[in-house]
Each structure stands twice: as structure tokens, then as C-alpha cells.
């Protein structure tokens, strides 16, 4: 797991997504581990602004050359922003998964749901045990 980057200011889900809370809103993307496992990303299917999602519900799809994966909402809430740049350049997810590769912003229903997510160390530990 040492070769992957998991910034300490983010929180993580067991579905390999990260969250960043800013001014009460939560930005979401996929982790360095996820983008590496998927390989070259060629297509990202994202929902419309305004849609509500439940924690654990699939909100979109990410496709690499060989694989198709669902994207799961790590928290419940309303989608207030969607990264439309990924339609033109899905490879940004590989290049900068924590920055320009962000996918959606959610207005959370409950702040407690973010607290329940894993911190960087716990996520790294989770990946180690998943590999075994």
C-alpha cells in the first residue's frame, strides 16, 4: 500500500472513494488506489445536479479500457455540483484523482455520516486486509 497516496485531510469509504468537507459541502472522488486498479479511465457517467442520493446507493459509473465499476454515495444528501470536465477528459481521474478529478459535491443530510468514514490510516489498513 506504500505506493499509493491517501491525503490525511480527507475521509474515505470502503468503496474506494474520498470525501473533502468545505463550508459544509462534501466533495467526492475516487482514491489513488481505485484509479490505479481501474487503469486508464475512458468514461465517467455522473448524475444530474439536484438528484438526491442515499448512503451506499450507486450514483454513477466509471469505466476504464477493460472494466466497468459503479460509484457509490459515501453519504446521503443532494448533489449540488457535478464535474462536467470529466466528460471531455476522463483521464484527469488518473492524473489528479484528489484535485481536478473530483466528481460530485453533495450537500449532506447528516454531518455524522462523514465522521463515520475512515481516516487515511484506517483506509490504508482496510486495503491491506482486503488484499489478504
Amino acid at each position: 500500500m506504500a505506493e499509493y497516496e491517501f491525503p490525511s485531510n480527507l475521509r474515505y469509504s470502503t468503496e474506494d472513494e474520498w470525501t473533502r468537507t468545505e463550508s459544509g459541502r462534501v466533495t467526492i472522488g475516487v482514491t489513488d488506489y481505485a484509479q490505479s486498479q481501474l487503469g486508464d479511465i475512458v468514461f465517467v457517467e455522473l448524475p444530474e445536479v439536484g438528484r438526491s442520493v442515499e448512503k451506499g446507493e450507486p450514483f454513477g459509473v466509471i469505466e476504464s479500457v477493460k472494466a466497468v465499476s459503479d460509484l457509490y454515495a459515501p453519504i446521503s444528501g443532494e448533489i449540488v455540483e457535478v464535474n462536467t470536465d470529466l466528460a471531455e477528459r476522463p483521464e484527469v481521474v488518473n492524473e489528479d484523482c484528489y484535485g481536478d478529478g473530483w466528481m460530485i459535491v453533495i450537500e449532506p443530510e447528516e454531518d455524522a455520516e462523514v465522521e463515520a468514514l475512515l481516516d487515511a490510516d484506517a483506509y490504508r489498513e482496510h486495503l491491506r486486509s482486503r488484499k489478504e
Binding site: 486508464d40 457517467e45 479500457v65
Partner: protein
């Protein structure tokens, strides 16, 4: 559950950081760095593929050529020593047992290069139909042979550094025996990528040394190892069939558009009558190449939709790195296989617009000999 087999290069692949997957009963590299980068390397410079999992079945004896002539859809008696042809082994129903290349070694011997997933099946089939062993010996030498494919516009330049064989004089679909990096190799100007390139057959024990020599000679020119992921996107751009997708035991080579490789007039091969009869009755489907217009990726199994109805299905689909669009091959009703037909591919319940194109999707690259000044 049987254990996966490995090629002689398995350790080498791991040391190069390859991600390994199961294919045809073997553990093979799907990518080393990125499928898109490896694909681009082959289109722009050169890529190196381990395809040692493929099989080699030898026929020898006074009746070997006649036996092969009956087994395969391409002409064999007229195949010159030192030449290669592509064809199909067909069954009595006109379906395809496997697609193969046929190498004429001598007046009385040849070998078939066969798909990894079909080695045992093809060997049984050939043994069953080759005729009296007194006239033809059939040997499965797949375990003894390795196979490395060197593909791309710079392939000749890389390979020439390692051999005294005059590669400029070696035309497409021809082969020669010679020394490459000190190893005895059958050098064939063939490939599965639509690019110029070579397939190098040699003894299992020599494969690692040849691979390393090729990388050492070629890396300064931009040669990269390339995995099965790139191999698939490359062959799809060239619209080359993959057994199990475009071809199977029920599919006539004519349905798959392989008319050029079937000696229908000459006849005299297993499945010929059935292939003719099926053509006379009218095929109920045709293979069409398509490009997606809407964003997304078409993949094998996705339904083809026309006029709101599902009328066929995708056999192979992927992003085309060269075109920057998603492409695919699909079974469609013959009338819809015409260039320009507007269709849809149903992906996760949504109908993505597509149109039929002539194939190959990417024009075949210059063959080495013709490119010489």
C-alpha cells in the same frame, strides 16, 4: 479447479510491474504501465508482446499437405515453402473450430499456429481428421515453443539490430529461419495488430534471452513491453476477429466476413458443403463495424437496437485510442450492415447512437518491404 500455466516470461513480466490475468488457461500480462500508452507505442514506435500461450501443431509426412488441405479453409498445396496463410478449421455444420495461421515448412510439412484457448480442442480435431498416421504425423509442440510478437513501424529497425537476416526482403506473410540475438528463431512477418511487425517462434528455453535482447536493442528507439489489453484494442482497430467473440463453433467464416480466406470454389475441405448451403439459404446475420456517436463504451453482449427493437449484439467493443471514439463489431441483420446505417447500442438501459463503418477502423500500416526507398 486446474492451476494456471505460465509462460517462460512470467517472472520477467512481474519484474516489469505487469498486472497479470488469466487468459486461455495461462497467467498473462494485461498491462505493464497503461493500456493506452502501450497501444500508442505500437502505433507510433514498437511494442513487444509475449504470446507464448498460443499453440503450435505440426503435420509431417507424405500426406501432410493433403490432410491440411482438407482441414483448413485456405489453400495449402499452393502455399509456398516459407509462406503463411490465415484460415479457419471448420466443422461439418460449417461452424468454426478455430482460426489459425498455416506455415509451410517444407514440401511435406507445415504447422498451424492456434489460439491458446483452443490448443487441446484443435489438436484432437486435427488428429481425428488428419487420416492414416502412416501418411501424416500430427504433433502438438505448443509446450516446447515460445512466441514473441514485435509490432509497430519501428519493428524492422529494432529486429535488424539483432539478426543477419535481411528483413527488408522479408515480405508480409513470409517467414525465414535464422539467428536472432544468437538464438535460433523462425521469423515471420505477421501479426495481430494491423501494424507492420514480426512474430518470433523459438524454443521455450530461449524465450527470456530473446525478450531481454529485444528490449535492450529496442528501448532506446522507444520499444515498450505491451500486454493483452493493448493487443485487444489494437486488433479491434484492425477489425481482426477474436475466437470466442466473432468466431465460434456455430459461426460460419462467411458470416464473419472472412470470404477471402475460404476456398469456396476449390472446395474439398471439412465444412465446405455446409458453408455453401448456409450461404445459399441466406445468412441471417452479418458482422458490422460501428462507431459510437454518444459518449460511452460498447462492450461484448450489449444489444444492438434498430427501430426500437433489439436486433443483434456486440461481439467486441472498446475505446479506440487512435480514433478517440468507442468502436465495436456486432452481429446485425445483413441489411443493416451497410456503411452509414444508424443504429443504437443499449448500454445499461440507455440507447447510445452509433453508425456502421467500413473496416478496418484504422488503416493498415505500411508493410516493411514496400516502405523501402
Amino acid at each position: 479447479m486446474s492451476t494456471l500455466r505460465e509462460t517462460p516470461l512470467a517472472q520477467t513480466h512481474r519484474a516489469l510491474g505487469a498486472r497479470m490475468v488469466e487468459f486461455g488457461g495461462f497467467l498473462m500480462p494485461v498491462q505493464y504501465t497503461s493500456i493506452l500508452a502501450e497501444h500508442a507505442a505500437v502505433r507510433e514506435r514498437a511494442g513487444l508482446f509475449d504470446v507464448s500461450h498460443m499453440g503450435e501443431i505440426f503435420l509431417a509426412g507424405p500426406d501432410a499437405i493433403a490432410a491440411a488441405e482438407r482441414l483448413v479453409t485456405c489453400p495449402v498445396a499452393s502455399l509456398a515453402v516459407g509462406a503463411v496463410r490465415y484460415g479457419c478449421l471448420c466443422n461439418d455444420q460449417g461452424g468454426t473450430v478455430d482460426d489459425v495461421t498455416v506455415y509451410r515448412l517444407t514440401e511435406t510439412s507445415l504447422f498451424f499456429c492456434v489460439n491458446a484457448s483452443n490448443v487441446e480442442k484443435d489438436f484432437s480435431w486435427i488428429c481425428e481428421h488428419a487420416g492414416d498416421p502412416a501418411g501424416v504425423r500430427v504433433e502438438n509442440r505448443s509446450a516446447r515453443f515460445g512466441l514473441i510478437a514485435l509490432q509497430g513501424p519501428l519493428a524492422e529497425g529494432v529486429l535488424q539490430r539483432l539478426t543477419d537476416l535481411s528483413l527488408a526482403g522479408l515480405r508480409r506473410f513470409r517467414f525465414q529461419h535464422g539467428k536472432v540475438a544468437g538464438q535460433s528463431v523462425l521469423v515471420s512477418r505477421t501479426g495481430y495488430t494491423g501494424a507492420d511487425g514480426f512474430e518470433l517462434y523459438l524454443e521455450d528455453g530461449d524465450v527470456v534471452a530473446l525478450w531481454n535482447a529485444l528490449l535492450a536493442a529496442g528501448s532506446p528507439l522507444g520499444l515498450q513491453p505491451a500486454g493483452l489489453g493493448a493487443r485487444d484494442t489494437l486488433r479491434l482497430e484492425a477489425a481482426l476477429p477474436l475466437y470466442g467473440h466473432e468466431l465460434d463453433d456455430d459461426t460460419s467464416p462467411l458470416e464473419a466476413g472472412l470470404d477471402r480466406f475460404v476456398k469456396l470454389e476449390q472446395g474439398g475441405f471439412i465444412g465446405c458443403d455446409a458453408i455453401r448451403a448456409r450461404r445459399a439459404r441466406g445468412h441471417t446475420r452479418a458482422l458490422a463495424g460501428f462507431i459510437l456517436e454518444d459518449p460511452g463504451v460498447a462492450r461484448a453482449g450489449h444489444p444492438i437496437v434498430y427501430d426500437g427493437r433489439e436486433v443483434g449484439s456486440v461481439t467486441s467493443g472498446a475505446p479506440s485510442p487512435t480514433l478517440g471514439k468507442s468502436i465495436g463489431l456486432a452481429w446485425v441483420p445483413p441489411l443493416l450492415a451497410a456503411r452509414g446505417t444508424l443504429l443504437a447500442v443499449r448500454v445499461r438501459g440507455r440507447d447510445l447512437r452509433a453508425h456502421v463503418v467500413e473496416t478496418p477502423f484504422v488503416p493498415k500500416m505500411d508493410r516493411g518491404a514496400r516502405a523501402q526507398a
